[in-house]
């Protein structure tokens, strides 16, 4: 009897603890990726004469390169199962979704495999980004403010 009661109480608290752990892990990992981004910008600005706006473009390209390479090498998926949103929400997740869907359908050929599936997951981000940006910008333009 005591054991059953204990189990009921224990089960109540089990998923919550896991959720809390997930939240903390994604906060720390996401924060570290943001910190790396800012650090790359400051390093580029410090050692070259590139302006800060151009340096941010280079930073995004570097992050995309790292994410694509680590997805192709196969250890990005392990990081995703561990860190979840911490690593999927930054721009690394965008590069990961493209490389992983392209790799997955590689066997089906260049046109119907890679070509038609490379935007399988990233397509929704691009589509809704463009549609929403278009309508918000129209409203903004018609209101007369830039």
């Amino acid at each position: 009897m005591k054991n059953i009661k204990y189990e009921i109480i224990a089960n109540k608290y089990k998923p919550k603890e896991k959720k809390l752990k997930n939240i903390i892990v994604s906060f720390i990992v996401g924060g570290i990726i943001g910190l790396i981004g800012e650090a790359i910008i400051e390093l580029i600005c410090h050692y070259t004469k590139i302006s800060r706006i151009d340096a941010s473009t280079y930073m995004i390209i570097i992050l995309i390169f790292i994410a694509s390479l680590s997805t192709a090498l196969g250890f990005f998926d392990k990081l995703v199962t561990k860190f979840k949103c911490g690593i999927l929400i930054p721009i690394t997740g965008f590069a990961h979704s493209m490389t992983s869907s392209a790799l997955e359908y590689k066997n089906e050929g260049f046109i119907y495999g890679i070509g038609s599936n490379i935007f399988k997951l990233a397509g929704s981000v691009i589509l809704y980004g463009i549609v929403s940006a278009y309508f918000f910008s129209i409203i903004r333009y018609l209101l007369g403010g830039i």
Binding site: E38, T57, K84, C85, I91, A95, V125
Partner: protein
């Protein structure tokens, strides 16, 4: 100071999306699309530009900055071309990111073999 701000901002966005992921039935695909729409919305009234000034690189890393730069490039082109400028300038600022993602993922797909 910018380093700490970017840690906090990027971590905060990831934390919020993790909370949404855990407590609802939405998939990561839903959440990233939602964040892009939020980023595009925040570009109006120049809210996101103020965040970038305050936070630095940390605001450019999350996927919200993708929506922001889509809307921002579009609205900048309207100065010159009017309403058609929205269509011309949409990809102005994000072109490097999208092109880099396409090129790198294609090259790495050619080189590496898929793993299960």
């Amino acid at each position: 100071m910018l380093l700490i701000n970017s840690f906090l901002f990027c971590g905060f966005i990831c934390m919020m999306s993790q909370i949404i992921l855990d407590n609802t039935k939405l998939t990561p695909g839903h959440i990233t699309s939602m964040l892009v729409v939020i980023g595009a919305f925040l570009d109006s009234f120049n809210i996101y530009d103020k965040i970038i000034k305050l936070v630095g690189g940390g605001a450019l890393v999350p996927i919200t900055s993708f929506g922001h730069s889509l809307a921002h490039g579009a609205i900048l082109k309207t100065n010159q071309y009017g309403l058609v400028g929205l269509l011309m300038g949409m990809f102005d600022l994000t072109a490097s990111g999208i092109t880099a993602a396409i090129i790198f993922s294609f090259i790495f797909t050619l080189i590496f073999k898929p793993r299960n």
